[in-house]
């Protein structure tokens, strides 16, 4: 993706999906996402259940080899067979042998992403076996010859009208099919006949219990039950990571999986099958023999798949991926996924946030590279994952590894001097440019306004777009000649140390210091109005910019420098106040991976989002009267990472305390996500995501309100979407607002 042609074709692919599949994907994923919020809200012990589920998975993966042995012994004792396949070819060879031994003409399948990973259908079809997908969504795709666009609802990109057109063309029914009811009845009838005459039934498994050999299947249609019990031979295919120690371990997963996925408290059927099952075969050749009079000799094969998983288990960064229960919460809560679905946000088999880990582990880094950039690190999936996987971190790690395996950059010589990062040669120029934003900003301020004129000039934008993929449809941030630190140094503190309630370090994030200096000045005045003495020392960029480009070593080095610059202040009892939520999220979340535990804890506990800090002061009795504020109406968009940290209520509460009437957005992300929206290949996607926010803020109830946003890039995105300026909430509290300046 390091050349202009590659960017153009990527942009074209995304544009086509936005036009063809975007609407159906958006409606369905947002429906699932809303359902999830509602369904988990009913669980009193949601957080405890997630931790319990997480602990079970950690333990199971830790002792996986022993569990595989235990499960094998259990299944064999039950009368089944276990085959541990090294890779897809090995698994397919075994499954073909089973089909051949059964003289199988037809095999019916229930939905299984693991069998998609193996491409077992193609392998069996090559032997002349008629493979029939019985999940209605999978069947639609089989008829249409398409790949799933979602790991749980595979045909999510197709509407009722679409499917009706497909079926009417393909099957030419006497009465044309129209409604979902009619389509479902048609499919049930047709598939029912195919299941009845099947020789082998194949299912996946959501969980397998080592102590009982039980296959747990989470479904709603009933096709998995039919596939497993109608024919006399059942083949279950599952990754080794599906094993849990005991039946009792299933409980938290059963409570979480449906809620996390499609927002259902529980799916229609949780099938707990311990094969070979006692249920009789439904034999069309003996239609009049009572079930009770049969004496079936059922056959059961459990095919456990390694295919890279045991190596993932040894990989400290990818291991977490194996805890994934494939519920799709990370996909449904992802703003980019909501716009394009799995046909863009996915690799060879898997799609959505966690797919990066799966694809890197089972298919390799080339497959992960296809879509890894679509994770913006907004972190909205983090709290939604029922097994608490840090999905953005996995995406960052894979991006870092991809950077290291990349080709030598063509324009390396141009940026070497401008990019004091810790990265190896070969990293994509676009990533390097955005990853070194701090250096650009310093240079930009030092040479402003000339730097802004030059950057905005036509030829410069053309070169920026062609060489670095910076979209010329975006307005570039204008650097201020006088930085926030320059301003404060000449102005000095207005609160005497002796009179101060508290003393703080106001973190001069790159954007506030060089571009939106006004919000920094407002923060100083607000803090001083509350008797807080402010210091603005030189502190490096947090590492957010390089981290978002997958430059982990550079971010790691920044973290150390930031900590070194702040540690003494924290020890002196000064609180660290941060305006930009993405930088605060570094201190509170990502630094856990980059700093020693004690340092991380100290900085995390000593740092505050600016409105969170104001809230704390007011709670502790400081008088709010000195703050600015009116009874004006505000439309407020919090910031994705701020919401993941649970901090947005402080802003709304403080604004309300100051007299404002606040309406809050409920979209997952504004779509800008730092540098993402500036990139040529993602500009249109960024605007499509932002459109959901634009719609919320242009309703009659919102369109005349003052627009406020906590994040830099949210402000930029809102500014261009709404064509009116957005402000940081702290600017609404600026005492100067009251004095009518």
């Amino acid at each position: 993706m390091s050349d202009a042609g590659g960017r153009r074709s990527k942009a074209a692919h995304i544009r086509r999906l936005l036009e063809t599949e975007g609407d159906a994907v958006e409606e369905n994923t947002i429906g699932f996402n809303r359902g999830r919020y509602e369904s988990v809200a009913d669980l009193e012990d949601y957080e405890e259940l997630k931790s319990e589920a997480r602990a079970i998975k950690e333990d199971a993966i830790e002792r996986l080899p022993a569990l595989i042995d235990e499960l094998t012994a259990t299944v064999e004792e039950n009368g089944g067979t276990v085959y541990l396949a090294d890779d897809a070819a090995d698994a397919n060879r075994y499954i073909r042998e089973v089909a051949s031994e059964q003289d199988a003409d037809r095999l019916v399948k229930s939905k299984s992403m693991t069998t998609e990973e193996l491409e077992v259908n193609e392998a069996l079809e090559a032997d002349g076996v008629d493979v029939v997908e019985t999940d209605l969504g999978e069947w639609v795709l089989q008829v249409a010859d398409e790949a799933p666009s979602h790991i749980v609802a595979p045909a999510i990109h197709r509407s009722e009208v679409d499917i009706a057109r497909l079926f009417n063309e393909r099957f030419d029914p006497e009465e044309p099919l129209e409604t979902a009811e009619e389509l479902t009845a048609f499919a049930r009838e047709r598939l029912g006949g195919l299941i009845r005459e099947a020789d082998v039934g194949m299912t996946g498994a959501n969980f397998i219990t080592a102590d009982s050999g039980t296959i747990a299947l989470v479904t709603s249609e009933g096709n998995a039950r039919k596939s497993a019990v109608v024919p006399d031979t059942h083949v279950a295919v599952a990754g080794v990571e599906k094993i849990v120690p005991s039946v009792e371990d299933l409980s938290p997963f059963i409570e979480l999986i449906g809620r996390s996925g499609t927002g259902q408290d529980i799916t229609s059927y949780i099938s707990l099958l311990t094969p070979p099952v006692e249920s009789p075969v439904v034999d069309v050749n003996e239609p009049d023999v009572a079930f009770a009079d049969r004496d079936d000799d059922r056959e059961f094969h459990l095919v456990l798949i390694d295919n890279g998983r045991m190596a993932m288990r040894e990989d400290d960064q990818l291991r977490e991926t194996l805890y994934c229960i494939r519920c799709s919460a990370c996909a449904n809560s992802c703003a980019n996924f909501q716009s394009v679905g799995g046909h863009a946000f996915g690799g060879e088999t898997y799609s959505g946030g966690i797919a990066t880990g799966w694809e890197a582990g089972v298919h390799g880094y080339d497959s992960a590279a296809e879509f890894n950039d679509l994770c913006t690190g907004c972190s909205r999936c983090v709290n939604q994952c029922p097994v608490e996987i840090d999905i953005p971190w996995i995406n960052t790690v894979v991006r870092d590894r991809l950077n290291r395996g990349g080709d030598e950059g063509q324009f390396e010589f141009l940026v070497e001097g401008l990019t004091p990062d810790e990265e190896p040669g070969g990293i994509d120029l676009q990533k390097r440019l955005f990853g070194n934003y701090e250096t650009l900003a310093k240079l930009g301020s030092a040479t402003a306004p000339v730097s802004n004129w030059l950057a905005d000039a036509g030829p410069a934008r053309t070169v920026l777009e062609r060489v670095a993929g910076v979209d010329s449809r975006r307005e570039l941030p204008a650097f201020k000649r006088e930085t926030l630190r320059d301003w404060y140094e000449s102005r000095g503190p207005r609160i005497d140390a002796a009179d101060a309630e508290r003393e703080v370090v106001l973190y001069p994030d790159t954007y506030t210091n060089h571009v939106d200096v006004d919000r920094g000045k407002a923060a100083v005045r607000v803090l001083e109005a509350l008797d807080v003495r402010v210091r603005i020392p030189a502190v490096p960029e947090s590492g957010r910019a390089p981290l978002s480009q997958g430059m982990i070593d550079t971010a790691d080095e920044r973290a150390s420098r930031v900590y070194a610059a702040l540690a003494e202040h924290i020890d002196a009892g000064r609180d660290v106040v941060v305006i930009e939520p993405s930088d605060l999220a570094m201190f509170r979340r990502e630094y856990e991976k980059l700093l020693p535990e004690a340092s991380f804890d100290r900085l995390r506990e000593g740092s505050y989002e600016v409105l969170e800090y104001v809230y704390g002061l007011l709670e502790n009795g400081t008088d709010a009267d000195a703050l600015g504020g009116t009874d004006a109406e505000v439309a407020y968009h919090s910031h994705c990472q701020q919401r993941t940290l649970g901090l947005e209520p402080y802003t709304t509460t403080v604004l309300e305390t100051a007299g404002y009437d606040v309406l809050e957005s409920d979209v997952e992300c504004c779509g800008m996500a730092g540098s993402f929206g500036y990139k040529t290949e993602y500009y249109e996607l960024s605007v499509d995501v932002g459109d959901r926010l634009r719609e919320q803020f242009t309703t009659p109830a919102a369109r005349d309100r003052i627009v406020a946003a906590s994040g830099t890039s949210c402000e930029d995105q809102l500014g261009s979407l709404l064509e009116r300026d957005a402000v940081h909430p702290v600017e609404l509290l600026d005492p100067r607002r009251r004095s009518g300046r």
Partner: protein, 174 residues
């Protein structure tokens, strides 16, 4: 103790109401007349696993593949119910109870009020020994459903409707 059972039953009924699944409470002696109200013929079933309660003789309790395909209603016993979710636990037995509960349009699970458990952990604890002994069970919650055809439809590969029958305590002193 009575209070607990009462609360669990109410919770179960409330969960079923949320699922729009009708429930009929009856004493064992009135089961037949209750089923007459609910069942649409042709009807099949498998023998109920409760002492002193059996299916009326107009329900075919020795189904075959042919009658399974032809039936409109099925009546089978559920081992227990889960109040928090409105789920019924359907055993997979050699008499075909699992298939019988799945194929016809309307499924009528019959269970005893005394077999209701409050929540999922209790239900799974109860299933542990059953599954370790080689048994299988389905936690069935409402009718089968799909959203794969572009809108939510009740009745995919399984029943379109479920009607739960709750048996009062009169039938057994255990």
């Amino acid at each position: 103790m009575t209070v607990d059972v009462q609360t669990t039953r109410e919770r179960f009924e409330e969960s079923l109401a949320d699922l729009e699944v009708p429930v009929t409470r009856t004493e064992p002696t009135a089961l037949e007349s209750a089923l007459e109200e609910i069942v649409r013929e042709p009807a099949i079933g498998t023998p109920l696993e409760f002492e002193a309660v059996s299916l009326p003789d107009w329900i075919d309790d020795a189904p075959t593949p042919a009658t399974l395909e032809a039936a409109t209603t099925s009546v089978t016993s559920a081992s227990f119910g889960i109040a928090d979710y409105g789920s019924v636990v359907l055993p997979a037995r050699p008499d075909g109870s699992e298939q019988v509960s799945l194929f016809p349009e309307l499924h009528v699970p019959v269970l005893r009020e005394s077999d209701l458990v409050p929540d999922m952990p209790t239900a799974i604890d109860r299933l542990g020994p059953v599954l370790r002994d080689g048994g299988s069970a389905i936690l069935a919650t409402g009718p089968s459903a799909t959203a794969d055809m572009g809108a939510l439809v009740r009745g995919a590969h399984g029943p379109k409707a479920v009607h739960v029958v709750l048996l009062g305590d009169g039938e057994t002193d255990e």
